[in-house]
Amino acid sequence: MFRHKTGSVTEELQVIAPSKLALEEVSKSFQTITGTVLALDRISLQVNEGEFVCIVGPSGCGKTTLLNIIAGLEMPDSGNVLAGGKPVTGPGRDRLVMFQESALFPWLNVFGNVLFPLKLKPQLTNKDRRDVAKYYLELVDLTRFERFNIHELSGGMKQRVALARSLAPNPRVLLMDEPFGALDALTREQFYGDLQRIWKERKKTIVFVTHNVREAACLGDRVLLFSPHPGRIQEEFVIDLPRPRDINTADLVGYSSKIMRSLKSFNAERPETRA
């Protein structure tokens, strides 16, 4: 009996509805040599369908932990996480993660890396998979480099491949953990434009973790300010600026200095925290 291939490239490439995310009273603690650290303290958070939310905060404030919990890579000690109304019980293709280091597979070339998640979709034929991979490589402007080995790419190109790879299975949610942290300023700025374009085109719900306040203000519909020990959402800023946004405009700088002031103020109140 042959398996009937129901999918097709057009179907696979359709813009699908992004998911809503809901976190209810999520807590998580870790054991360290100095004792128990409360990484997340009863975090409640709603991210709407297709919303771009940025989470900023100093290192070690639990923002990566939060992202891992939404991804299903870690489980909370208490509280619920819902993606598209369904409880998150583990990793799933509807929520893909783009990591700080590209996490690309060095034994595969660029094309092979983008193909990897597509090979896990049994409803596609091999030709469909190749067409889908080509589409996403074009979306991140890397068609010419599809036969390159990973080590032959620059840091920015690696992150482009990683972006194409996480978009390829057509997730409803994209979780980004400081994806541009290791890139130079010029490459980063180019990414801000591209990411906003792709987000608009592919309509994803995005949760974006960063410690760069300007970056957060440039990309997010909303910016959540995290404070460490215990990890809490300290303040919320709605960025009401038209898109596509340029990181160098005065309005944007106004928002980012407002966020920066808040960040500094609660750091000053808590001198024991590492900024």
């Binding site: 299903g72 990591f99 996490a103 080590h151």
Partner: protein, 254 residues
């Protein structure tokens, strides 16, 4: 071309030096035959089929044992990397036995299996197996955890993650283990063939042994040359291309 010529020049010089040492009668001709005598022996041994037969016998033992050792060692290494209980038990045994020079298996193999092919096979398997187990385990433990996490979010799990992510990620370690296993197996097989005469087939080691018995130094040197050439070929034909591929993909070559 230039590199080839200078290398060829070097070997020609080496042979000339050998010829000169022979003609100068520094050592007795019984101890140091001329290059021509060695070549003549090789020619005769090829013509009467001795050499071909011995090489086939030896390679058959080596390859059979090597394949068994590798096919057994790879999953064993994966399993010891997966479960700590196996690591503490099988892993410890593997590490211990891997440090044992593989020629030490020869007496045991003789007593257990007698002068049979099984004894030869056993020695080769023992030479290969533990190196592959240890290298696979080390390789798997050195796979960056982020590969696994990335694969998990893309929907890979269970056996798929092991075959498509962890195994290829550990490949550079596994290949160096395969190379070490090959070297150990080759050395122990030669030792076994020199020590043990079995009637099911004369290998290169046995030819070497009879060369000594008959005081036929040209035979001893010729067989040693053949053994060296086989070792070189194994490296150039089998291991070098794999290593080159890995270097190119991973970007680890100079």
């Amino acid at each position: 071309m230039r590199r080839f010529l200078s290398a060829a020049g070097f070997f020609a010089l080496l042979i000339l030096l050998w010829q000169w040492a022979f003609q100068a009668k520094i050592w007795s001709p019984v101890l140091l035959p001329s290059p021509l005598q060695v070549v003549n022996y090789l020619k005769g041994a090829i013509e009467d089929g001795t050499l071909g037969h011995a090489t086939v016998t030896t390679m058959r033992r080596l390859l059979t044992g090597y394949v068994i050792g590798f096919v057994g060692g790879l999953p064993l290494g994966l399993l010891t990397a997966r479960w700590n209980l196996l690591r503490d038990t099988i892993g410890t045994i593997s590490l211990g036995l891997q440090t044992l020079p593989s020629v030490c298996w020869v007496p045991l193999a003789l007593l257990w299996f007698g002068q049979t092919e099984a004894a030869m096979l056993f020695v080769v398997v023992m030479g290969t197996l533990w190196s592959v187990v240890i290298a696979t385990e080390t390789g798997v433990r050195n796979v960056p955890p982020i590969y696994r996490r990335a694969a998990l979010t893309m929907g890979s799990k269970g056996l798929h993650i092991w075959l498509r992510v962890i195994l290829p990620a550990a490949l550079p370690f596994i290949v160096s283990g395969m190379k070490q296993g090959w070297a150990f197996a080759w050395r122990s097989l030669m030792a076994a063939e020199i020590f043990v005469t079995i009637l099911t087939g004369f290998g290169l080691g046995q030819l070497l042994h009879y060369g000594r018995e008959l005081n036929a130094m040209e035979q001893v040197i010729a067989i040693m040359l053949v053994i060296v050439v086989i070792g070189l070929l194994a490296d150039k034909i089998f291991f070098s291309p794999i290593e080159k591929f890995l270097h190119r993909r991973w970007g680890t070559s100079q």
